[in-house]
Symmetry: C2
Amino acid sequence: MVTRSADVLRDRVDKALHEWIHAARPSVASISPDLEPFVDALAAFVLDGGKRLRPAFCYWGYRAAVASAGPADDDDAVVRAAAALELVQASALMHDDVLDRSDIRRGAPSAHRRFTLAHQAAGWSGDAEKFGHAAAILLGDLALVWADAMLADSGVPNDALLRALPVWDAMRVEVMCGQYLDVVEQARGGGSVERSLRVARFKAAKYTVERPLHLGAAIAGGDGELLDGLSAYGLPLGEAFQLRDDVLGVYGDPQFTGKPAGDDLREGKRTVLVAYAIEHATEAQRATLHDRVGDPALDLDGVQQLRDIITETGAAGAVERLIEERAQAALAALEHTAMTDDARTELAALATLATRRIR
Amino acid sequence: MVTRSADVLRDRVDKALHEWIHAARPSVASISPDLEPFVDALAAFVLDGGKRLRPAFCYWGYRAAVASAGPADDDDAVVRAAAALELVQASALMHDDVLDRSDIRRGAPSAHRRFTLAHQAAGWSGDAEKFGHAAAILLGDLALVWADAMLADSGVPNDALLRALPVWDAMRVEVMCGQYLDVVEQARGGGSVERSLRVARFKAAKYTVERPLHLGAAIAGGDGELLDGLSAYGLPLGEAFQLRDDVLGVYGDPQFTGKPAGDDLREGKRTVLVAYAIEHATEAQRATLHDRVGDPALDLDGVQQLRDIITETGAAGAVERLIEERAQAALAALEHTAMTDDARTELAALATLATRRIR
């Protein structure tokens, strides 16, 4: 169930991003007209919708400590600080797509693919793919810096900003380390539910839920008890969110995911789902998983064969139970943490939004 | 001429980096033992020496406004803030090496190459080169975030930090945009002295000299007049620095550059030097430049042939004159700007260090 206020907040985040990017654009475009397509690609990427989950967790982490939305200007400043998380996420996604060589994102060419196509269309010299990767790496870097600038410019008071910075830095260190562990796990061939769960914790649970909540609470000046309560809600919820994402990466409908069917299988992602399947597979099933997970040539029949194996090993059911259990743990923590009623209601709704079966 | 105080400052910067990285390491390594080689690669990269030019410009930008070094604790805090620039630079270099597919940095395997070799040594599955690129992209991201954290933790007063952040953000936006323009210029085939000079201005002059000076001056609370004077010194000096780097990239001795002879030619960098040569080449020379600049198979004979052409077109002499003219302009600006005597002396020495012919 999505509340009306969740829609309102998403619109406010979109507006904040739109305004900030359009205010920042001229200072870059004035350096050279060659930079216009560069910043426009970033704007298109960031403004292309999305659930804006991370800003929502940040905003309600703030409101967990602050009973009323307060004066509009103050509240808008918090929304802008929260929206800056989307620029961090844009950076992570653009770099991730280069890492994975993913050509499709949200049903359209990914950032590096767009630049490769632009290189070809311009008839430039050299390797078009290498150009695409270079441009997307640099655009991801720019997004990461713009995120800092948007946070600093958000208008939250200086003392709030200074409290927010250590959380902001820790969050970004954790996601980058989590991403590296993910890459290592993939190279190692996976097969460990424990290690895959650790990747999910750092790459997703802390980054997507816990740290955004802490960021908002830090801006509000929330105390240690609130931070602990938000962790008790955010960590299991974040794991459930990542597990749902893993399920969608294998079984999801491309219409909803914006990615080709079974894309995680083709990319060879070593998710908890796949690790569980490997741990519980027969010898024949394990051989098939070993051969086909990570095969770039995997077609729809191949995807279906792997889906069937993953279901037969009990992995799909086990992961659904993990999602349910963690979502329940998150909701229980919410009940046991002292916070404003508004925040409790909205965070409960966000738990559903982040983990529900179909979207 | 390097002053003794330049050596002392470099040692203080090295020490600050060493202490900060070793204090930050456990929080990452505790996530997973798999992260130890990841952070160790960053530590090795950052602590591997270098001239520490950017921190020196930052420190003397501060001291231009602050007559005495003051209490040791306060001065150490400024050194730590200045040293954080080396983490930004580490990020830029690691990403740049992926962009250029440069396998050698400072006479040793570059970051992505190290991870590719580690992948092969571990006998992991999948594409070792893709793993190397992924790890180096993520390590560059981590370096960029650690730079923020080191600046925030430096111990400079909060008001100084808040003044520094907009400069810090602008600097990083400029270098990323300059890098992108460089990539575009290379794809386009180059040949424009004007466009290559613009790349040098944003990628190097502002990033390496002007903004570090401004960062220090902002920490000190320096006024607009000082910032303008530092720009008048820093921009021509920074261009001269980049032009010297371009000359070394073509004519430099690998013993000094840590890169193979003529590496910029093999990579096809569209420097002012190459652009000038293209503008002034005979038809036959231009055809050779077109065919061989950017040829990954370029051997020593090929490098020598291109060097001869670049010399014959007058490009080498013209660029030496540009370097001399800009270095002189920088020194003249120094004389006309009100600042402390200590800073004027050290900035004059840094101008020589950054642009001298042999190093």
